[in-house]
């Protein structure tokens, strides 16, 4: 389990108040019982935590928890290479 994954879990659990165990890679927003406002808050928290920017058009493609991890890892790597 990557450090990114743990941090993203921390953020989602704090904002969405879902059980940590729910957050498997295939867990959807419905599984998390998250609504659109939760997601807006999660995205802002991720941006702040990782020092990245997540444009709305990218965020709209997220389907499940795994997508967050993949996206954040890629953004953080991109930032490191820049």
């Amino acid at each position: 389990m990557s450090a990114t994954e743990e941090t993203v879990k921390d953020i989602i659990v704090k904002i969405v108040h879902c059980d940590r165990e729910v957050l498997t890679p295939t867990a959807t927003f419905q599984d998390m019982k998250a609504d659109s406002l939760d997601m807006v808050q999660v995205l802002v928290a991720l941006e702040d935590e990782f020092g990245i920017e997540i444009p709305d058009e990218d965020a709209q493609k997220f389907q499940n928890f795994g997508d967050f991890i993949t996206y954040v890892d890629a953004k953080v790597a991109e930032k490191g290479n820049a």
Partner: protein, 411 residues
């Protein structure tokens, strides 16, 4: 207009004297003070040192955690208080026609949320602004959450007349019932605006007491009064037509017999007795009550130099010589000024006064003021049969609302 009796069947309170009606009344009847040193912000460089804070309140007992995080303290208070009020009225929404149950509340400007939001916008840009900024700071927020929680689909609105707001909300709700829009109204206010910004601003205005000793603050109608004490809290009443209350076998606590409104049109910070007196007389007329029938006045009684003289003069104008024979007391002496919620919480004190036959005192009263020479029920509660009570509420800026509560004596 059909003036069928409108009765109070339920009440809920949170204030510096306690977290429910029982604790509230125990404090009022004992002449207890809920004022203490300010802890909700660092007041070390403020002239004002004491306030009426609500301590030991846990909103998660009344709302799920996500709703707690998405709302502010006034909504937290209101959600707790509405549950107490509904329980005491034994009002079961599953038995009610949802469109016939409405809500009128009031709350104060969310100064600090607005300041924080602006700072975020300036420092971090529009993408970082809280998407709930609007719903958290809107003056309609309490009515929305109460209506949502209860599934009450009747009239749902909010009023504001600053310090008169709580009474204003109750009077407005009375009119919704009288005009036929609802059978049941939930009405009152919730205010948690006590904070660094508001105390600084009202302090600059010179309206707050600099009294450093919580055992001496505040002193309405006393010669040495020097301003009001900022407080926080919430009060809601359940109002319904007598017919509706009777049909469902509800507890009838008192009758809300009338309301009267006026505006000073005088000065943005100084009160004027003329319009206050007319508000009193209008409320009595609206209630079908003669001035000589009033046996208790629950004063606005802020403890500012100007309010207490103006109110005293207004009572004399409205009641003539009889003003000297009516017991008058200020509950603010015990829990401070709850701003927009004050008139609602104090109205609940009035209903309890009628129910219990005890007039709560004006505490901290030591030195009579020649300009405030009426009977202010100093320091000790007074047993008395109270059948008709006038509740005064005067908003900063000159908006006045008075209510008349009566012991309910049947049809």
């Amino acid at each position: 207009m059909d003036k069928q009796p409108v009765v109070v069947t339920g009440m809920g309170v949170i204030c510096p004297l306690g977290l429910n009606v029982k604790e509230f009344w125990a404090g009022l009847a004992a002449g207890k003070s809920g004022i203490n040193y300010i802890t909700c912000f660092d007041a070390s460089n403020y002239q004002v040192k004491v306030a009426g804070e609500v301590n030991g309140f846990d909103p998660t007992k009344f709302m799920d955690i996500k709703t707690v995080e998405r709302t502010r303290r006034p909504t937290h208070f209101a959600m707790a208080v509405v549950q107490e009020a509904m329980e005491s009225a034994r009002l079961d929404m599953s038995q009610e026609q949802a469109e016939r149950v409405g809500v009128v509340t009031t709350n104060m400007l969310e100064c600090e949320l607005i300041a924080e939001g602006w700072e975020t916008l300036q420092k971090r840009g529009p993408r970082k602004v809280d998407p709930l900024f609007f719903t958290k700071s809107s003056p309609s927020v309490i009515s929305l959450h109460i209506g949502m929680f209860l599934g009450a689909k009747g009239p749902n609105t909010s009023v504001n007349s600053l310090c008169a707001s709580g009474a204003d909300a109750i009077g407005t709700a009375l009119n919704f019932i009288r005009l036929g829009y609802a059978d049941v109204m939930i009405a009152g206010g919730s205010d948690a605006s006590l904070g660094a910004m508001t105390v600084a601003a009202i302090g600059r205005l010179g309206a707050l007491s600099p009294e450093p000793d919580p055992d001496k603050a505040c002193r309405p109608f006393d010669l040495n009064r020097n301003g009001f004490i900022y407080g926080e809290g919430a009060g809601l009443v359940i109002l319904e037509t007598y017919e509706h209350a009777k049909r469902r076998g509800a507890p009838i606590l008192a009758e809300l017999a009338g309301a009267g409104w006026t505006y000073d049109a005088h000065n943005i910070t100084a009160p004027h007795p003329d319009a206050e007196a007319i508000a009193m007389r209008t409320a009595l007329q609206n209630a079908g009550v003669k001035p000589e029938e009033v046996d208790y006045i629950n004063a606005h009684g802020t403890s500012t130099k100007l309010n207490d003289i103006s109110e005293t003069n207004a009572i004399k104008m409205a009641f003539g010589d009889r003003a000297y024979r009516i017991p008058i007391s200020s509950s603010k002496s015990m829990f401070g000024h709850l701003i927009t919620a004050g008139g609602a919480v104090e109205s609940i004190g009035v209903v309890l006064t009628i129910m219990n036959g005890i007039i709560p005192p004006t505490i901290h009263y030591e030195t009579p003021d020649p300009e405030c020479d009426l009977d202010y029920v100093p320091n000790v509660a007074r047993p008395a049969e109270v059948n008709v009570c006038l509740k005064d509420s005067f908003g900063l800026g000159g908006q006045n609302c008075c209510l008349v509560f009566k012991r309910f004596k049947g049809e």
